[in-house]
Amino acid sequence: MGQLGARAGLYDAATVRVNATGSISVMVGAHSHGQGHETAFPQVVAEMLGIDESMIDIVHGDTSKIPFGMGTYGSRSLAVCGSAMVRATEKIINKAKKIAGHLLEASDADIELKDGQFTVAGTDKSVAWGDVTLAAYVPHNYPLEDIEPGLEETAFYDPANFTYPSGAYACELELDPETGRVTIERFAAADDFGNVVNPMIVEGQVHGGLAQGIGQALLESCVYDENGQLLSASYMDYAMPRAEDVPFYQVDHSCATPCTHNPLGVKGCGEAGAIGSPPAVVNAVIDALHSGGYTQVDHIDMPVSPHRVWKAMQG
C-alpha cells in the first residue's frame, strides 16, 4: 500500500518455531486485544500439520520475541498475519518432509503429511511428527550437507488486495411517540466472511461490533461546547451501551464466498458489526416515524436520542 502513501507497510510476519519434541511456538506480528488469537491461530497450524492445538502456542505483543509485525487493526489479523503464518507453516512442512524423506529413505516429493504422520505415498512406511522434529534438533544420521538442522521458519506476507466481506443487516425497533425513546427489539446480521476458522469467535466479533454501532446510532456522542470544552468527558455524559440497550442478536455467516487472494480464503470480520448497524438503526427509526405519520422527517443525525426524535416529531 506504499503507493497509496502509507509510510509503513501493511504486510505482516510470522515465525513458526518447532521445538525438538514437536511443540510449536508461533511468533505473530498481530497482537490480540480481545480477538482470541491464542485460540484461533493454533487452529490453523494444527489443521495444516494434523497435530493437536494444545501443542501450539502463540507468542505476540513483544518486539524482542517476534520478527516484525504491523499489529491488529482493520480486521486484518487472520487475513494478513494468518496468511504469513500459513506461509511459514508451509515452509516448515516442506523442510519436515525433507527430513522425513531422509528418515524414511524416500524422496521428499513422495512424502505425505496427514494427522501428524509423514507417510511415503502408497506405502505403510511412516514416521511421526515428533520423530521428525527430534531429528531436526538431534541430527544424528542427518544429511547436514543437504538440510540444515533446526525447524524454524519465518514468512512475511503482503496482501495483493484488500478482502471484501459484505453483509445485510436488519433492525426492528420500537419508538415511543410520547418520549421519542427508541428501543431495539431485534437485530439480524447476515455476513459473508469467506472461510471461517472459529465460528464462535467470529460471531462474538459481530456481536461486539453491533453494540458499538447501535451505540453510535442511539447513544454515543462526543460533544464540545463553542469554546472547545469537552462536555461529554466521562461516563456520566458519554453514554456507553449497556446490557439493556441491546437485544440478543441473530447473526449468520453461512453465505461464504472465500477470498481468492489469501491462502485461507478468509475475509475480515472484526469491524463488520460496527459498519452495518448504524444505518440499519437510523433507517428503522425513520421508517417508524413515517409509519406513524411523521412523514416530514427525512433524517435525524446520530445519536438518535429521545430528545432529537421528539424535536424531529415537533417539525
Binding site: 482470541g36 464462535m200 462474538g204 461516563y235 449497556r242 439493556e244
Partner: protein
C-alpha cells in the same frame, strides 16, 4: 495511617493504610490482587466489583478502611477449591462471554451476586442487573447467555451458535 484487618478470599490480612486508600488500591497495590480492574473514575464501569460481606460493591467507590473486619471476595477467590473454574466462570468460557477480559472480573462478581439473589433470572432481569457493568467487546449477547446458562437454564434456543 490506620491499621485495617479483613479477610480476603478466605485469608486474614492486616495492613497499614491511609484514610484515602481506595479498596481497589488496597487490593491491587498492597495485596497484589490485580484481577480487580479500574476502568473509570465515576463509579460506572463495574470492572472493580467485588463482594464485601456477600454483597457486590464497587471497590473503586469504597475506602479500604471501611472494610475493617469484613469478609472480602475478589475474582481471585472465585474458582473452585481445586482450582477448576466455578460454574459461572465455566459458563463464561463455554459461551464466549468475554473477549478482552478487562470487564470480566466485575461481570463474574456481579453475576454471582445476581444468581445468589435470584437463582433463575429472566433475560430482562439479567440485563437489568448488569446496569453497572460496562463491556465494550461482547455486545453483551454472550454475557447474558452465559449467566442464563450458569443459572441452569436452557440457552440452546438463543440465537447465534
Amino acid at each position: 495511617m490506620t491499621k485495617v484487618t479483613m479477610t480476603v478470599n478466605g485469608k486474614a490480612v492486616s495492613k497499614e493504610v491511609s484514610g484515602n486508600t481506595l479498596m481497589t488500591e488496597f487490593l491491587r497495590d498492597e495485596l497484589h490482587l490485580t484481577g480487580t480492574h479500574v476502568g473509570c473514575d465515576t463509579s460506572q464501569c463495574g470492572a472493580c466489583v467485588i463482594h464485601v460481606d456477600g454483597q457486590s460493591v464497587k471497590a473503586c467507590t469504597m475506602f479500604a478502611g471501611e472494610a475493617e473486619g469484613a469478609s472480602v471476595t475478589t475474582i481471585e477467590g472465585m474458582a473452585n477449591a481445586d482450582g477448576s473454574l466455578s460454574v459461572i466462570q465455566q459458563a463464561f468460557q463455554d459461551h464466549h462471554g468475554l473477549q478482552c477480559g478487562f470487564c470480566t472480573p466485575g461481570m463474574v462478581m456481579t453475576a454471582a451476586a445476581l444468581l445468589k439473589e435470584n437463582p433463575k433470572p429472566s433475560e430482562h432481569e439479567v440485563r437489568d442487573y448488569l446496569e453497572g457493568n460496562i463491556c465494550r467487546c461482547t455486545g453483551y449477547h454472550n454475557i447474558v447467555k452465559a449467566i442464563l446458562a450458569a443459572s441452569g437454564q436452557d440457552v440452546s434456543g438463543i440465537a447465534a451458535e
